[in-house]
Point group: D2
Chain length 341, copies 4
């Protein structure tokens, strides 16, 4: 049997750990061959392929990103895309695929399975917003990096009696903000799931200053003030003629300064959250995902995605896996509110 | 209501996060008072107590160890120990206790509950060997530190074509060895649950050298060779007249050198694994444990321990909580064997 | 003798290590008393003072920021500022001051010495731009943090074939950019000392992509394109009616994308570079500065600043110390150019 | 011109940064070719050689160890060793060598230069004990790792009221103990340069406990108690019939426990100190050493070693470079004593 692997969508610490596990177990336990398709779905569409032997994965466990590179190519948006995948699988003798990616990548996987191509999915979302799995790899690393940044920023805030706003990843789900905020001891946490009241944030900030401490506000990039995202518009237009949105972090720091009269600064963590060596947690989770994915391929159990439930790796139908966004529930957010102000 | 908190047994990153959460929610949400008993169960026995207000816990989230200090005192081994606890609770007006600790500490808690004292338990075991909870705080930090050490040792091993044996914590359960070994890409992992064959280890080591790489062997301190622990005896006797056991790591490095003719070195990570700032994962878990423990106290739901199941914090009876050691199951060990050699 | 300590200007990892060393040696070796003035020069002006005993500095070595807090107050811009300092020193029985700060703080120190007040300076500039000392504490920590970020960003750049622009601190001197760029293996480094040609940067970027790698560009916040800073103007005006400057990092990423057709992203590290626990290097340097400053005070050698020359701590006149900005010399920049493209 | 590079002796973080800089500048600036000899001096003796192009060094800057591997081979202890080096240099068309190593490696380099072979040296000693240079790369990384360990151990010591002895590298010079001890806030630092009095150490330890803190003792592996190293003998004999020395760390912890009655534990950091990714400081220093070494080769200035003096890279004669061990001077040790107890 020859198994193809590919990684799609945004990069994420742990992708290489998955690849390594697939190769190692595929070859050593099952005696299969493994090849890598490059650049996400573009690989099978355009026939970009390379062999993956034991030596190729010897040194990649600790590395961020993906040695197979990635893209956002969608074969269903390319003329004859699916047909070309089918041809290339035949040409390179590939019997089945392990597709590692997020909603888009797995959505393609699901449709390909319906058309008779054997695919097993591995979930990848640094935002932790897939409902079918307790956690995805990359999330712990992102939280770790954001927490380290908050730890560092606290001493600056205290030394200067300043408010510091830290903008973290999370366009639709506030998991990174919630966890790094809890771990970093944030004094306010704002998530996309709950439009926030600037007045209320100011109250927490003032209370913090009154207690002679300096406030740290952690805000997900997708959080919006009451009144909606249009509040964040900068007045400029982008290349497509849309009015640009300013970052919520910078906007909020300006608002806090104006309303409380206290110095306020914003830091936007950006891409530093998704790169570099994965945490031990993510390496273990990604490795286990890879091992279980290759089991499913070996058994011919296509159309499933591996998932974490408690401490067990299970399989869920791809169709269910991508059905629903996992957002921060109210009671989890309420837990964190205990620490506000 | 006045709630007392104490920490017992070996220290563990995350203890302070639990304390902080109990204080914060106890005071801010429920309007209770909180005091800390010092040095584990010795505190309530001897009346060592200090107030715990919001300012006392302002700065402790990121710190390792426990600001309440710890001990292994068992009130059931002290004449009138339980009576003195009862008196001191009365004297200081303490209505209920949150006891943070491992098997021993929680065992005492369970018996005190039977005698009518209100206690809620929070599980603490860096070894992750409590069956009633998916994970305990401190474990992720220990795995993180051990993994970092393995990452560092790998380059030395490769540069000198040497075998490196890394001894990690885990007297009865091999969880730290298993997870750090998987995360660090260890070429052999040895756990207390499975007596190991030195001949088999040598095979993996040789195979690794033949592939022109250098082997890393991760061994739990409690792992024993086939033939049993007496193999590790050094011939010396300790202060109690018992024949000393040498460390398994050093012993194994010597054996590997003798049998394979390859340079082999041992590193014993020791106490570095249990100190210092907790990982983000452990800070979040410990914080949630603290929040839920104070909920249980507030509701008068004594005799329970908070526990993690999947992503939820639940409560389990203290009696069940400490009944069984959670060891590494065979199938989890088998997962890791894919990477041996 | 009673010695006062204060910290002025922007915070910097290592300030607490200086304070601790002054207290420890002042008390234990010389038998003096030590007090801390709060909030930089505002402390002596307004009489904000607290005792500093051994216990107060027990736990601060590893902490970022300053337990004495800081400000940018200049007593020479306050009516009767110097007189009030004189009065407060008398009121609190303070015989001499250790002033830890940058150009502004030390400039005040120099003038106070001329007026008969005993002050010894300790240099503090995270940008490493004081010519009288080889290095200042805080710089190594900033370089360490920026390098870690670059390490993380590289895997993202490679996985997506993207250019990544990393904006680091350095308004007038490019030391942080130079050192973190060298340490992180940057493919272009831009410093304030040399206006850069965007065309030339594009060449390096293209060459990098042609070699099938992704470029990392490290740019100091004060670097300007040929044509001058006005190129960076955003068209908006700030609260003072000045036209705002956009960040050079974001501007450059946009330019690169437009000119090379390659995806380009900017990350602005901002305040994360100046906070948190100092590196071992900075803790040692700051500690030695503190020890030598208290020696100078004890000897009555006022009007000097401690400085690092090679491996030795020496004293230089405050007047010389603040005379000249230390910028990156051409030959050091040329060293780094070897790695461009 | 074709330049050969080799790395000898114990591995050290930064070796790969030197190699990369030699290759990059040798090829890009001077248009030379570069090859790597494997396994230290064994490479040129046995003709183990590989080409080193730009792509070979693209990814090695951040890696610990050495991609050229290392050995302790001494060509002067091999029959015809020097002749074989001469032949292999001729066979592979190598005109000159860059030899990166410590006292032994550079001693060989010096003798080869006397016999007409062109060699430029790059100093490598993790212990920082070469008198001709202010610092060597690898030292800062070792100090960083030891300091991190001390930071972690402190919380355990405090939580349990225990003395913790941390044994760090340094057989003949105490630099790592001194710097990591200062950076970690050690309460006693013991170095090979000064035989220590156990009674005196006990005093400091007792004083520390009396102040209600827990002591951390940092001891270099080569430190010896008054009375001499034989005190450390274990009674066992090693393979060569010599009586074994026990580690000073473990010995001291036992002594402290026996004499003070306080729990005491030892941690031996061992090889973790010399592996893994170099600090930013070491990457910059190693890179600059490499750049300047290839300059010397290009100019035909053989028989020299590059060295750091202040902030400048200079050249010193190999003969002087290896003449004298740089030990910790009394006054530097006295600086640290301020913090004892």
């Amino acid at each position: 049997m020859r198994i193809g692997v590919l990684t799609g969508g945004g990069d994420c610490p742990g992708l290489n750990a998955v690849i390594r596990a697939v190769v190692r177990k595929g070859i050593e336990v099952y005696g299969h061959e493994v090849v890598g398709f490059l650049n996400g779905w573009r690989g099978p569409v355009e026939g970009q392929v390379r062999p993956l032997g034991l030596d190729d994965v010897e040194d990649i466990l600790t590395r961020g990103g993906t040695v197979l590179r990635s893209s956002r190519t969608n074969p269903y948006k390319i003329d004859g895309g699916v047909e070309r995948i089918r041809e290339n699988l035949a040409r390179y003798g590939v019997d089945a695929l392990v597709a590692i990616g997020g909603e888009d990548t797995l959505g393609v996987a699901r449709r390909l399975v319906d058309e008779g191509i054997g695919v097993v999915g591995v979930p990848k979302t640094i935002d932790n917003d897939l409902s079918a799995t307790d956690y995805t790899f990359g999330f712990d690393t992102a939280v770790h990096i954001a927490t380290e940044a908050i730890d560092r920023l606290r001493t600056t805030a205290e030394s200067h009696h300043r408010a510091l706003v830290v903008e973290v990843m999370g366009r639709h789900a506030g998991w990174i903000a919630l966890h790094s905020g809890l771990a970093g001891g944030a004094n306010v946490i704002l998530v996309p799931e709950r439009p926030f009241s600037v007045a209320k944030v100011c109250e927490w900030v003032r209370r913090r200053f009154e207690r002679e401490y300096a406030p740290i506000i952690v805000v997900a990039e997708g959080a919006v003030p009451e009144g909606g995202a249009e509040v964040l518009q900068t007045g400029e237009t982008d290349a497509f003629g849309h009015v640009r949105l300013g970052g919520v972090g910078t906007w909020l720091a300006d608002e806090l300064a104006a309303r409380t009269g206290k110095e306020s600064r914003a830091v936007v963590l950006g891409h530093t959250q998704r790169g570099g060596t994965p945490t031990a947690y993510d390496r273990v989770l990604a490795t286990r995902f890879g091992l279980h994915a290759v089991d499913a391929v070996h058994e011919g159990d296509f159309g499933v995605m591996v998932a974490l439930r408690g401490t067990e790796i299970t399989r869920v139908k791809l169709a269910e896996a991508t059905a629903e966004l996992k957002t921060v529930p109210l009671e989890r957010y309420a837990e964190a509110e205990v620490f506000f102000g």
